[in-house]
């Protein structure tokens, strides 16, 4: 049984700016003042979360398709990367699986 939190939709925090700089993702957190550099897969995820809110499963599926990797590997890599982004306060939750309250 999957963890309920996994199906919360997340998106990039409005306090984060990012650009694709020659294939690398450069993220700047406006409040924390930190700069984070991510690789092409990280950039793909950041761009996706910058466009729209997605669940972790949706992200993993998109990564698996775009980078032609198996679903389990994509799920694991995406989870790890999202943890890193959460640690940087770069994500915000936009609602629960039942359309519940948004969170930071």
């Amino acid at each position: 049984m999957s963890e309920p939190t996994r199906e919360y939709k997340i998106r990039l925090s409005s306090r984060v700016r990012f650009r694709d700089v020659a294939g690398q993702g450069v993220l700047v957190h406006l409040e924390e003042g930190r700069v984070l550099v991510v690789n092409d897969v990280g950039l793909f995820i950041v761009q996706a979360l910058g466009r729209q809110a997605m669940t972790e499963s949706e992200l993993a599926a998109a990564v698996a398709q775009a980078f032609v990797v198996d679903a389990a590997r994509a799920q694991s890599d995406v989870a790890l990367f999202l943890e890193q982004l959460r640690g940087e306060k770069a994500l915000q939750t936009v609602g629960g699986p039942d359309g519940g309250p948004a969170g930071g």
Binding site: R19, G23, V28, G33, V35, V37
Partner: protein, 336 residues
């Protein structure tokens, strides 16, 4: 990490990494050592032209912008331009004298612009010294009041000091004031001539001993106090160091755009690579040979130090424009 990965890619692909927008030369202060030539003439960029410029820069993957002047907040469309920078996802620093950072404007900045940081020029630790340099009575009291409110409101602020003969006795006090106001202090310099060639500001150059003291304080406090050329991107954006020991990063990955659309290698090298009334920023950046030429001049000038740290007017800094304007009389004399 950033310097060895991102900046390497930026330079290899010749990307425009950071842009300084001098929105206006108008100012509500009259600082003694200000380098701007307020008599410079031209057709200011319109709001639609700023929109085109910013959209082009976003497409070119430029991330870092600095809004400066003059005093950028006196520009009639300051908040409109700031709002565009937010919508287009730039990381924005604002350099201001702080006089207009009144509560209402702080609220608007937070809501409409969301700057990464606001950098405020501090001239002294007391009204007597600060106001002497700004030549605006009351400017110190107003600034400190504004900064206290800005901090409470959640605006990230920093203070910037140019050491001079008039404030060099207050170095430690200014650092303490920056700490008290929650606006960490950075030193910049040296004082340069005005853009119209007037060398009067050089008369208040601080002593070399002052710069030595600042360096010692910087080492003691490490990241809390820093010394940088005025034109460099902040150390918070860790690409500031050029690869050559004695050179600034002019011509490599950034440009300055004046209020009239002139695109220049930096705010001190007032040579025009192109004008936005006639060309796009993309055309100018990709086609003008000026950036590479200025880069070569900077590296050649720096090479005279034979790998030793350069000093201009006693400061541990190097600016190719000051070298070219004042080298014979001072800048080169302090080299090896």
């Amino acid at each position: 990490m950033y310097r060895h990965t991102v900046m390497k890619a930026v330079r290899a692909n010749r990307l425009l990494h950071d842009v300084t927008l001098e929105l206006t030369y108008c100012c509500n202060f009259n600082c003694f050592y200000c380098y701007n030539d307020r008599d410079r003439q031209g057709t200011p960029l319109s709001l639609p032209q700023y929109r085109v410029l910013l959209e082009d820069l976003a497409r070119m993957q430029t991330l870092f912008l600095m809004l400066t002047g003059g005093e950028p907040m006196v520009h009639p469309h300051f908040f409109d331009i700031g709002n565009m920078t937010r919508e287009l996802g730039f990381v924005v620093r604002i350099r201001t004298n702080g006089h207009l950072l009144i509560p209402r404007n702080v609220e608007r900045l937070l809501r409409e612009v969301e700057p990464y940081r606001v950098e405020i020029t501090l001239h002294g630790a007391t009204a007597e010294v600060h106001d002497r340099q700004t030549r605006v009575p009351g400017s110190f009291e107003r600034l400190t009041g504004n900064l206290r409110h800005a901090r409470v409101a959640g605006l990230r602020c920093a203070t910037v000091v140019t050491p001079t003969a008039w404030n060099e006795h207050q170095i430690e006090a200014m650092i303490a004031l920056g700490d008290e106001l929650g606006a960490p202090l950075r030193f910049q310099g040296p004082v340069g001539p005005r853009d119209n060639g007037d060398r009067e500001p050089l008369s208040i150059q601080p002593s070399r001993a002052t710069w030595d003291r600042i360096e010692a304080l910087m080492a003691e406090r490490r990241e809390n106090v820093s010394v940088e050329p005025e034109c460099s991107v902040s150390k918070d954006f860790p690409e500031a160091d050029a690869e050559e020991i004695a050179s600034c990063s002019v011509g490599l990955a950034g440009v300055d755009i004046d209020p009239f659309g002139n695109v220049q290698p930096c705010m001190h090298v007032r040579e025009v690579a192109g004008n936005l009334h006639q060309q796009s920023i993309e055309d100018i950046w990709n086609r003008s040979p000026l950036f590479a030429q200025v880069r070569q001049r900077a590296v050649a000038a720096a090479s005279r130090w034979n790998g030793e740290r350069p000093r201009q007017f006693g400061s541990p800094l190097f600016c190719v424009a000051i070298d070219e304007m004042c080298g014979e009389e001072e800048g080169r004399r302090v080299g090896p």
